[in-house]
Subunit: 415 residues, 4 copies
């Protein structure tokens, strides 16, 4: 790469870094310092923690190894804001992130500024060799921060849902799921021997590859997601009281947790918002159920039970990817809800994790979780792609997670 090309590349990266980091702050802007310290369950983290941890990532994986003379803002943050990297030493227990009133939000903001200044220098000043080594980690750090931007939103929504006042994150937020009205249409895919997984162009996480051949039988897939209106019919038909639709572990959850509707749905007459119809709590606060909005807040168990009730099934992650890349007419791919698939989150054939500490980024979670495809209303623009693999345990329901139906093609049938 020529020197001027490199300079242009560095300048572009610096601009992108700056914009992306600013976006994190913008997302936190509607929240008070008190809000940003909330941790409502071990699986979720405080907004303040997300802001600190994403900075820690740049510090731990870039500034410490690649910026000689870098002075930490506070050495103790290396312990406080490590998430799960065993190779980087011990760390603050995850369930206790909500007990960190100190460092204050102001201190975390100062930490971010400190890291940003050092990153700026690194991007501008490092030598070519360092730049070559740093660039993929920098890209990973930015993608990482985008993931936490979404989590910041899903986690504060969960925290607010635990407050009887049901506060709105932002009553006027533009973060809304794409709607789709009208009956569901089935789109046919011929299946076959297909190459799937990331094709190597542009960034992808290690878990999206290697690209490899997959055999698919012909199948049909719904042009839109299951809507709140659709899902309300399932509830009205006794969906949460009939074990025949449920996986065994799902039925156990229904009974143990008392599930009767998706997360954040308020029954008619709920004392927190005592309307006569279903209400739904979201980033904009409590709103009447919109039948054309996609259903959100589903666990895999609920998605699978709904599909069974509907005489259909969930797509595999490969069916989803084949449809997303090969079919016209699919709505709500990346702008509504993460879509549960019937695929376990396991490594692709020939999978190799990243080298170094980033090896722990994805690979070590490859058991006990299911793949979700697409993206949600809260996914930062430009973050998702057809090969993107999101993953959560089957009982998780605090994400913006819904479903798109699929079904087999009966022999001799025609669409």
């Amino acid at each position: 790469m020529s020197a001027s090309d490199s300079q242009a590349q560095r300048a572009a990266m610096a601009a992108r870094y700056q914009a992306l980091r600013a976006h994190t702050l913008a997302l936190a802007a509607p929240l008070s310092a008190e809000d940003q310290a909330l941790q409502s369950m071990p699986d979720a983290s405080p907004a303040k923690w997300h802001q600190a941890h994403t900075s820690w990532f740049f510090e731990a994986l870039l500034l410490r190894p690649h910026r000689p003379g870098y002075r930490a803002f506070d050495e103790r943050f290396f312990y406080l804001f490590n998430s799960y990297y065993e190779a980087l030493g011990p760390r603050h227990p995850r369930p206790q992130r909500g007990l960190l009133s100190r460092p204050s939000l102001d201190a975390v903001r100062a930490y971010r500024a400190h890291v940003d200044a050092a990153m700026w220098e690194l991007i501008e000043q490092c030598d070519a060799d360092t730049w070559a080594r740093a660039l993929p980690v920098l890209e990973l750090g930015l993608q990482h921060e985008q993931q936490h931007q979404e989590l910041l939103l899903t986690d504060i929504l969960h925290a607010f849902s635990c407050n009887p006042l049901l506060p709105a994150y932002d009553a006027d937020t533009s973060l809304r799921a794409a709607r789709a009205s009208g009956p569901l249409r089935w789109l046919r895919h011929a299946g076959g021997r297909l190459e799937l997984g990331h094709d190597g162009q542009g960034f992808a996480f290690d878990n999206e590859g290697p690209r490899h051949e997959v055999l698919l039988a012909p199948f049909e897939i719904a042009h839109r997601l299951v809507s709140c209106g659709d899902y309300a019919e399932f509830i009205a038909d006794g969906g949460y009281r009939r074990p025949e639709f449920w996986l065994s572990d799902g039925w156990a959850q229904v009974q143990a947790q008392g599930w009767q509707a998706p997360a954040y749905w308020l029954e008619p007459g709920d004392p927190r918002a005592p309307a006569r119809d279903w209400q739904v709590f979201g980033l904009a606060g409590v709103r009447p159920l919109d039948p054309d909005a996609p259903v959100l807040g589903l666990s895999f168990f609920e998605a699978a039970a709904y599909a069974d009730w509907a005489g259909a099934r969930l797509p595999s992650e490969f069916e989803w990817e084949a449809a997303a890349t090969g079919l016209a007419g699919l709505a709500q791919l990346y702008d509504a809800a993460w879509q549960w698939t019937r695929s376990a989150y396991h490594p692709y054939p020939g999978f190799r994790p990243l080298a170094g500490p980033a090896a722990e980024y994805n690979g070590k979670f490859m058991v006990g979780q299911l793949v979700l495809r697409g993206a949600s209303l809260a996914t930062p623009p430009g973050h998702a792609r057809p090969s993107y693999r999101n993953f959560f345990p089957p009982a998780a329901r605090w994400q913006f997670s819904g479903l798109r139906l699929a079904r087999d093609i009966e022999e001799g049938s025609k669409t």
Copy 2:
């Protein structure tokens, strides 16, 4: 009571109300809004919650029943800030008090001001009948707020102890336990048939009465509390590894919780404050162990085990009260630490709880707890008295709780 007497009484009460309420704010002053939202365990409450709940008490027990036309600051607070009064309806679950980022600290302060204004009017303007009914409840509300002033401190100390940074509440705080140097002296009490319990002069909680006769055998009691230096000897002698000193439930706690020292003691080399000797975390932050300071942060189990190791025992609550009222020479009665006794927190003979909602104030907790006597460094001045009965479960150790030794007098012995 003459009209002018009544006016003077009202004015005095108003002044006391104002000063006491201001003291609560002063205690919270060193804490940020983030700090004040912390709840580190179900038994402890956020500083913000203490400020709201004490206001709720005046609102629920005085303004609503006795101030016609009183308009609530926010009707939902009646649910949010009820602590445990079943008769006053459902309430926010105790373990989730830390999830209330809203109402914000500012809103809680506004709530306090709203209640204060209404209380002011009530005190000034209510008719004589209302005043007669309101006065004992007002007194109870003030005493109640003083109790929460102490809890605010013990609870934030626990919360800060869960933060690896071990922040100081106030490095320059004047809240310090009275020290006592020199060897322990035994003071002899002749026992006998004594009247104990509150004598009816001035305020007392219902649990301090009725005053009644008690028979006591002669006993001896220590002139000072067990000091940190004393307690360090117990540790050094294997106190936490030798079951013979412990009650069965206490030994189970030692093993289950891994207790090796009082709460907030940091072992030599603790990574959070890696000094070569014991350190103690307190309101002023981490400080070297002071051998002449009273040991704090003890559970009943530890206090009893120490006493056994020392060849002594804990006093009964009646022995303590008899000594406090009848013996000269007792140090550290009310200015150091609550002192565990060997008495279960049960009703006195003939005990009757208060009428109305305040019936739930004390009586319903009269099982499963032990009585502590005295008062601590954190007890508001003027709050305690010889008949005061504090109470906690035997495993509780986040209070400023220590012990004073007692022992039987062997027949024929002389002091």
Copy 3:
């Protein structure tokens, strides 16, 4: 003691030992080997374990220290059948006693026979010094076995209650609680300064002394226990739905455990015995509720709530003892149910535990429990006495535990 006196004493002791040990086997006789291996909760033990542990007690406290050359039946039993004696080394975890299908019941019986033979020799052959030292431990061992005779019954009843078939221990058992018909009468006690606790004549456990003076106000006590008929009125009046009668911890239990009636009461229509009225499960199996039988299977919380509902209270343990020794007309003292008192199980003034390993027998449990007085239908004849102190945690309800009401005497009142 003369040689012939000693021989007579030894012969009497041997006979008593033999009869008492045989009684344990007789109690187990209605049970199969499978039944005798059941452990339905950590607090209860298998019938087989009771038979082994009582033998272990003689082995560990008498044969090993006092019988030179004694060969253990199986050295591993020393670990398996120690209950809670820390001084005697590690032991099998209590919650796993039900996993010991081996040693088989036959092996445990052989172990008993082995111990009996050695005990026989010890009693007959040991020298006078050994006999003097052994005698109090032998007495303790017999009393200990009697305690386990009762526990064998309460524990198997609990185990059987977990079996949907609700098997009877013995449909024709003569173990029945004494009934009392007719209205409750109040007996008046003048109170005063009384000597209570064991007076030193005959055997008593260490926790029954020292005998000491107690001051009692005048009080009234019920001539009979609360009956099933009485208690059914409390239930019908919403007793289990009204928090005002309950201690706070009790109310929490009601809600957490879903208590709606005493242990072993079957609601009308219960699928296990679908009669139209209350049924009660007991040693004889399921029987219709007998209104004149004493209510059994109560926790302290329920006993206290009932008393509050009835406008009365529980007696203190001293009131109970004063009444039992000083009043005529008390029914159902020792032949119906253990009677909860309002007294914490704490040491008496001047209490000293036994020396040696038996020190752990009683003293280390003296916190967190309540005293029950009297004895039950399942207590071996001759085991109880007025000073006897039984004790259980306040939520325990699998014993034959009921209540006798007491009340204060209002000034100026007359009976």
Copy 4:
């Protein structure tokens, strides 16, 4: 089918039924009634329960629907011995199977005989239509009983492992895992587009189909299982202390459970069998570790960690099946240990569960578990086949479960 063919078929089935049912009794023969009542964890069941439940299966799915006039041995057994069939009504809670001392083992044996007699009549006497409908269910019932024959052994082994005496199931048992000595050899499979899954000949469970095409990259697979000697090297190399080999959930288990070796391995010096080298507890009791025996008692997490440490990986279930059907030289396929694969237990494309109550047999468990292939020393002869899919959660380690390594073929590499 001709009448005589049908008669021959029925006779053959009757003989097979009889032999297979007798085999269950033979497996239980070394166990006492006390042993057969043990339940050591919710996932395991008492041997007695296995004998009853397998009879219940015939009763519930064959005799009740297909044998008019069939009289149940005991109607209550329908509730007691249902395992997990929601469609067949409520059932005794799984964790409480060990509390059923009644029905006694003798009663369960009588129940078996009762069912056998009725089955005999059904097989002999039912009309042709009934026979046609009954035959597949009968076959399923026999296969089902074989599965429980293996579970009876794995469950009693777990129960005995909880007994400090570590009793042997049968010191002379012929149930031994096939050994394999010598270094591991890698066998190459060319991969390709293969038809896998059950081919429809002979019995298979619903989860083994539909047979479908699968694409496999070339791979290598080990000719033998990982041996105890191999695994001991992993332990010696710090395998249980190095997080880099472990999946995140696996590492959490290692720490939470304190795993340091496979289930049933006894460390040198273990007080239960204090030898100087590793000992292994198995059906024959405690034996010195045999380096050439396959390692058993592994969770998926341990199998995957070992594979990572060894520079290899687990095969997918399709690789395993392709190798088992297409390669010569594979040892220990069905006579040593179930072999963990890297495949989630999910439905094959086009999977349809059985009709009727048997629909719940397999399908509802298809999430959260991993597939194991092959069979173990405890699998009844003739039960397994190449398409057989066993499944357990990743932390399960009380089965006879081990692993066979696989690895990718690097481009350009040669074997």
